[in-house]
């Protein structure tokens, strides 16, 4: 078995050499393999391996010439075929290696591009966030300021209202004070304010008007005071109208002299209109001779102007 195994290639070679003068199938395979390798990537990527394959083929061709059909020829043809296959596969391997480098480069370049883009996005997002945060802080500061202002305003208003209420309270001790639709009405008796039939203020009137002035100065800025003079029905209408106007003016002037803003005051003579009591009795006429100071809001003042 062993002897036949060893002798078999020699016997075949001898038989081939006697039977044919052409190349052996192994040499044909080697030539075909080399031709394929020459047309493959090996030509570009593995020329040295291709050269080795060519040398192996030349060696086989030489053996074919010297010892056709020999074991040496068959072996060298076999080796040449393997060398050609090796060159062909090596060419593909080298091409793969370069493709790998190229793909790696493309991957890294793309990663860099994406990273830079992400960094830019992150940077602009951060800037936007910072801007939003700043705006929010600014808004919060403004809200806090506004709250403070509102609280201060509320406190000031409450304080002013308290002062005004206190002033009206003290005023109610020297005059009649009533809350009416047209406003808060302070009624001062004409007999204690003026010399009879004149618009001249009595000394005692000034004490009362000082209290009134104090109350008016405590009023809110949007409040107005309408000073309205009234007479009884005795005498002519013209005379009563003039007297009531003069008395209203006298009160207004005095209040201005005590620091009340002129812009907040209006003096109107009503004559014998709107009596509050009968003019048939002395007491009634005394009540009708009066000065009313009406503290009004702007809207109330506009309504009373129409009267």
């Amino acid at each position: 078995m062993k002897l036949s195994y060893l002798l078999c290639p020699f016997a075949l070679s001898l038989a081939w050499g006697c039977a044919s003068s052409g190349p052996t199938p192994a040499l044909l395979d080697a030539r075909r393999a080399y031709a394929e390798a020459s047309q493959s990537e090996a030509a570009t990527y593995a020329p040295d391996k291709l050269l080795t394959a060519k040398q192996a083929l030349d060696r086989a061709e030489g053996a074919s010439m010297d010892n056709p059909g020999s074991f040496e020829e068959a072996s060298l043809a076999y080796i040449a075929q393997r060398k050609a296959l090796y060159a062909k596969v090596y060419g593909a391997y080298e091409k793969d290696q370069r493709a790998m480098i190229s793909a790696d480069g493309a991957y890294k370049a793309k990663q860099d591009t994406l990273r830079r883009s992400a960094e830019r996005d992150a940077s602009s997002s951060k800037a936007a966030l910072v801007a939003t945060w700043d705006n929010l802080n600014q808004a919060n500061r403004e809200i806090a300021d506004k709250k403070g202002e509102l609280a201060a305003e509320k406190a000031a208003r409450e304080q002013a209202e308290k002062k005004a209420a206190a002033a009206l309270e003290s005023l109610s001790r020297i005059a009649q004070v009533k809350e009416e639709q047209r406003g808060v009405v302070i009624t001062l008796d004409g007999s204690v304010l003026f010399v009879t039939n004149k618009a001249e203020l009595l000394p005692i009137a000034k004490d009362k008007l000082n209290e009134v002035a104090k109350a008016l100065k405590e009023m809110d800025d949007d409040k107005l005071a309408s000073i309205e003079g009234f007479t009884d029905s005795r005498g002519s209408d013209d005379k009563n109208m003039k007297l009531s106007q003069d008395r209203a003016n006298a009160v207004k002037d005095y209040l201005i002299s005590q620091g009340v803003s002129a812009e907040k005051l209006r003096a109107v003579g009503r004559g014998e209109a709107n009596p509050v009591a009968s003019n048939d009795t002395a007491e009634g006429r005394a009540n009708n001779r009066r000065v009313e100071i009406i503290i009004q809001s702007s809207a109330q003042a506009a309504a009373s102007m129409k009267r």
Partner: protein, 115 residues
């Protein structure tokens, strides 16, 4: 010639015993090529595994030829073994490289789709 055969046989004897300090170059080259192919996983690639098996069989054949004193034939068979082992190695490496290229290209395409 006789000296070469004797040296080879002695070398083979040393290789078989694992005690050779200077094995014949052809044997060493063939064995090294087989070892290298096996190391890269040639046995896991059908085509490479076939060449690896042929290489191993040829080494055994060469062993017998040397034992029979057929030194010249043994040299040729060892060259065949080395050629087959080298083919097994490069087939394995090329298959791995091709797979890596395919994956790398897929990675690039995936990355391009992410934008």
């Amino acid at each position: 010639m006789i000296r070469f055969v004797a040296t080879s046989m002695v070398a083979f004897a040393f290789v078989a015993c694992g005690g050779s300090s200077l094995p014949p170059a052809k044997v060493v080259d063939a064995q090294s090529a087989i070892t290298a192919a096996a190391a890269v996983g040639a046995e896991n690639n059908p085509q490479a595994a076939l060449h690896l098996k042929m290489a191993r069989d040829q080494v055994k054949q060469a062993d017998k030829l040397i034992a029979a004193g057929e030194d010249a034939e043994a040299r040729l068979v060892l060259e065949k073994a080395q050629a087959d082992a080298e083919v097994a190695l490069i087939i394995t490496r090329e298959a791995d490289a091709a797979a890596k290229v395919m994956k790398a290209n897929a990675d690039v395409q995936n990355l391009n789709r992410t934008q």
